[in-house]
Amino acid sequence: MTIQRVLVANRGEIALRIIRACHEEGLEAVAVYSDADRSAPYVRAADLAVHLGPAPAAQSYLVIDKLVAAARSSGAQAIHPGFGFLSERAPFARAVEEAGLVFVGPPASAIEAMGDKTEARRRMEAAGVPVVPGAMAAVSDPAVAASLADSLGYPVLVKAAAGGGGKGMRVVREAADLAPALVSAASEAQKAFGDPAVYLEKFIERPRHVEIQILADGRRTIHLGERECSVQRRHQKLLEEAPSVAVTPALRERMGAAAVAAAKAVGYRSAGTCEFLLAADGSFYFLEMNTRIQVEHPVTELVYGVDLVREQLRIARGLEMSVADGPLVPRGWAIECRITSEDPANGFLPSTGRIAFLRAPAGPGVRWDSGVETGDEVTLYYDSMLAKLIVHGASRAAAIGRMERALRELVVVGVATNQPFHLRLLADQAFREGAIDIQFLERRPDLVAGAPDPVVLERLAIAAALAEDERRRAQKPAISGEPAARRTSAWRDQARREGLR
């Protein structure tokens, strides 16, 4: 089937990213929106827009039937799922396929194979991909879980079987904490994925999170090197970079070959990512495959000169990927900072409200992928990520310097963001040396919380005093500046004098 119009089954930043790719590919884009997103920038950017329902995702962005119906009614021939929401739900991909539409992503069977984490581990082991030691089956009985944990040795990790993005995950360091962790992880998994199944695995101390980007078009399956995403808080990635300081060209080829083998083992097509834990000794373990475009895909795009979303669209249309055959070498360094509406000064708790003003960074080597603009409302219905700030530089040091410059240009008024956290992180010596691992931030609460600079406080105090002084001077004439008699009219004064005669 010829694809001319693509429905984007997502919202916010990634919806806009996909709509832009559609337009560059000469395709029309259909946006879908809930009650909360009618005025969102991505809806304005689309060629057509279909209302899905109420704000809660369970009644809008997660309803398969509504999305398929929206594609039909808008005349779209394909559906791009983005990330999150239904992107890794095999029943969605299958429903799209069964409706005679093209799913811009892997076949439902590949999502299914990788989506069940225990099944995926079995397949990966069979394909010769190294995996983390752990229990292969979902556990719910605390007694069974306890004996499994004992055999693995603490610390262990409780993970949602249907999970991703850190939801439904708990590190357990001693036996006494296991039972409550099972309950809370299962409850979070149920809420996030509609499936409470969790499993256990050995927790590897201080590994780096290094992932390999895959692209497969049914003819070739290639890797586009690594991204390092070790800077995480509560399993949520905050800053990603490509390449990784810990990956040599030889290691890149070994990890890349493992990722390609993993993708081939499930008959993968489209863009996907194999996540690995990389230990200090260079050994690496397959964590999971994300069968979708990822949040941090732009850093790979910048160092390899590839547009991954456009490649996804090409592959969905049955075309070959446009990436040249032969060895690919990363050029320079790219860094992405996730700008979230979380307040570092308040324990990273979500901040909501209206964005009174937004000024995006610009200039050489800066890319701003945003889902919001001035005037938009940040609600609690969806993810806290507002935008992604991505920079490219000749070296890691150059990229860090450029990111600091770009972050200083960013102005967000109305909601708190994690911008101060990123500035502290980029200035940190250990980060600059690349001495990071996935527990880095756990050891560095000083980077997470920070303390205000007294010099800055004095200058802000001066600015506030000047603003208050200006406000008072502006108000004076109307309130108290003039005696009451002066405000009466000359005509009335005249009348009074007449009356006294």
Binding site: S184, S187, F357, R359, L410, G450, P452, I462, L466, D469
Partner: protein, 168 residues
Amino acid sequence: MRYLVTIADRSFDIEVDGERVVVGGVEHTATLLDGTGTPVRNLLLDGSSWIVPMEPAGRGRWTVMRRGERFDVEVIDERTRHIRSLVGEGKGTAGPATLKAPMPGLVVRVLVAPGQTVAAGQPLLVLEAMKMENELKAPGQGVIAQVLVQPGQATEKGAPLVTFATPE
């Protein structure tokens, strides 16, 4: 005009006379440019240029920002300061301590019951917001007096959740 400016628990004595600003006895030249329709103002302080987004937050109150850090600033004049010192405003709040919702959200689980003694840092309840479960912890040791919410209940920011018994 002379002001007492309080920001992040620090106070500054600032006298403003046109472009002449005296801070703690030290004289500066300062101008604050209009944001031309935006909250982003430009402070020129002794020739140094500072971008300062700010918004009014009520009489004598401003929300001031610097590279994403937000500060609530209070600016009061000498007369107000004098009246406050006579009235003794702001000193010692009576009544039991209360845990308030730091954000709007949904109560997922309540982990404590009235009468229970809790340690500092002990999780009291779990509030869900933006798809994440956030554990709210006891600010200090104490005894739970009342639990004002139940699982499934939506709360507004600042809503009281749990009260602590007043120490005897």
